[in-house]
């Protein structure tokens, strides 16, 4: 039997307290609070990948600040009641970055962070790609690329039908923008004027085998998204102030596409912006060095 995960009440209280503090804080304080949490997530990811001897460290690190900002400061969710009807929907379409997601969900109290070191163990709920039936806070089982955005379109349409004000956020890898299904969904989202839908493209410019622009170039991604009818916001995906501003609701009545320029492997010098670290596993010595940099 798969181990089931239960909410962590103490951690939920910490998460709620952090949300209140962030709501009242000035930007310097927000930066410090979010940076501390992101560093913790990156340290957790190092531990998880080292434990499992598998994982996708580069993409985990490029998306960490995006996930941290959304869960700590933006999403209207209740970790004590993950299926609460009025919740915002969050979908990590780049499901291979499950370790960063799991750590972020644990920081929100969806389950205890003591579970993180079961990552990819036999029968663990924490599979290499997220499973909604095993992990509280996961909305849909992602992994194959190009799946999250169509589901997000459906969730956003549902919120419109139910008139409950819920928002939907989908985080995509930049490489997965090569999937045709995403462009089907980009068309339908703008056609249906889904101003309650925000996508974030983790634009780290690397995919598994090479740079995106050397593989099947995406640029000019901003013009393409704008041409598909989206309100485009291009930001530094590691700048919390810019992230927070980018997650503000649409001002145009159109869906919002945030191009978050990031560094794959962000936070550890010898991992950053190196294609081989897509899913390379750090040695014991590299773990020590990485944790020192993330201290």
């Amino acid at each position: 039997m798969t181990h089931t995960l239960a909410a962590d009440g103490d951690q939920i209280e910490s998460w709620r307290a952090l949300r209140q503090t962030l709501d009242a804080a000035d930007i310097e304080s927000k930066d410090a609070l979010l940076a501390a949490q992101a560093s913790q997530t990156r340290r957790n990811v190092i531990g998880m990948i080292s434990h499992a001897q598998q994982g996708h460290i580069g993409g985990d690190f490029s998306v960490t600040d995006i996930l941290t900002t959304l869960f700590a400061a933006v999403l209207t969710i209740d970790p004590a009641d993950p299926h609460w009807e009025g919740r915002d929907t969050f979908i990590l379409s780049k499901g291979h970055c499950a370790a960063a997601l799991y750590s972020t969900l644990a920081a929100s109290g969806f389950f205890s962070s003591s579970e993180l070191l079961t990552f990819m163990d036999p029968l663990s709920a924490l599979n290499g790609h997220p499973n909604r039936n095993k992990v509280p806070g996961v909305e849909t089982n992602t992994g194959p690329l190009g799946h999250g955005l169509p589901i997000g379109v459906g969730a956003a349409i549902a919120a419109k039908l139910k008139k409950n004000g819920a928002r939907t956020y989908v985080v995509l890898g930049d490489g997965e923008m090569q999937e045709g299904s995403n462009w089907e969904a980009l068309m339908s989202a703008s056609h249906h004027k889904l101003d309650n839908l925000t996508i974030v493209v983790d634009r780290n410019r690397l995919q598994q085998g090479a740079r995106t622009e050397d593989t099947n170039g995406l640029d000019p991604l901003d013009d393409k998204l704008a041409a598909f009818g989206w309100e485009v916001r291009e930001i530094d995906g590691h700048d919390y102030g810019q992230l927070l501003a980018a997650f503000e609701p649409s001002i145009s009545g159109r869906p919002v596409a945030v191009i978050a320029n990031t560094r794959k492997g962000k936070g550890v010098s010898f991992i950053e912006d190196r294609v081989e670290w897509h899913h390379k596993v750090p040695s014991a010595e590299q773990v020590t060095l990485a944790l020192e940099e993330l201290a």
Binding site: I151, A185, S188
Partner: protein, 314 residues
Amino acid sequence: MSDSYDNRVAFAEQLIELATNDERIVAVCNDSVGSSNLTGFRDLFPDRLINVGIAEQDMVGVGAGLASAGLIPFVCAASPFLTGRSLEQVKADVAYSQLPVILCGMSPGMAYGELGPTHHSVEDLSWLRALPGLDIVVPADREQTRQAVRNAVANPRPTFIRVGRHKVPDVTPAGFELNRGEFQTIQQGTDVTIIATGTLVSRALQAATELQSQGVSARVVNAAYIAPLDVASIQRAASETRAIVTAEEANVAGGLGAAVASVVSQLGRDSRVPVRILGVTEFAPTGSTDFLLEHFGLTAANIVVAAREALADA
């Protein structure tokens, strides 16, 4: 020949009736408002008909998103494109995620006759049987189509329903209940069991009548739920009759017949019975649906031949 009917009509009538009192019901389609017979639904519930255009992967994903928010989406498209183009979405977003999307494969089998194998959906049963947690329902007539829709709303779960376009006569006896995971015996018999699905059920009944005139008692089993599979019914057929014939408007590689044969082959030596599998064996040549059913031997006459051959081997 008795009157026959396009099951899409009963599908739409039942869907509208339920949707009138249940705002959770929405429909999603791929520019198939007309061919999915959703015009009436659209006119009554314009906001609840989501036409994503010719984009089947998006369509199934949108259905999953709607289901994740507590709605009951009926995702309607020509069956070959619904299943073939978006198979990975059906796998990951619906079956594996266990989101209660009702996938409605319109005009399945060889309903699009002369349009050719690109437009035939004879692989659907094979592809979808491999997905755990996905119900597969193949109604044989109007009443079974209505009951399949009602079941989907009463107990929403990941489901694929074949909604037939090729006209079929009514075959459902009074008192028939379409229960999840159950075959229904619609004619008793003691010599041979004919397990048929969809368009082949009426032909199986005709075959049973012909066999009766030849002194052979044939049981007819209506296999509406292909998944979950009614293993017990197959075991009873093997223990209570001496041979089994299966008949389906689908490819024999992995369809109903393969499922039945898999069960029978795993029975003890004394319990096994000969099995004959009738279905589609290759990409179809040009022809009408009726022509193609005959081409592949999916006729009452050929069911009779198969039954007699199987009994001869018993």
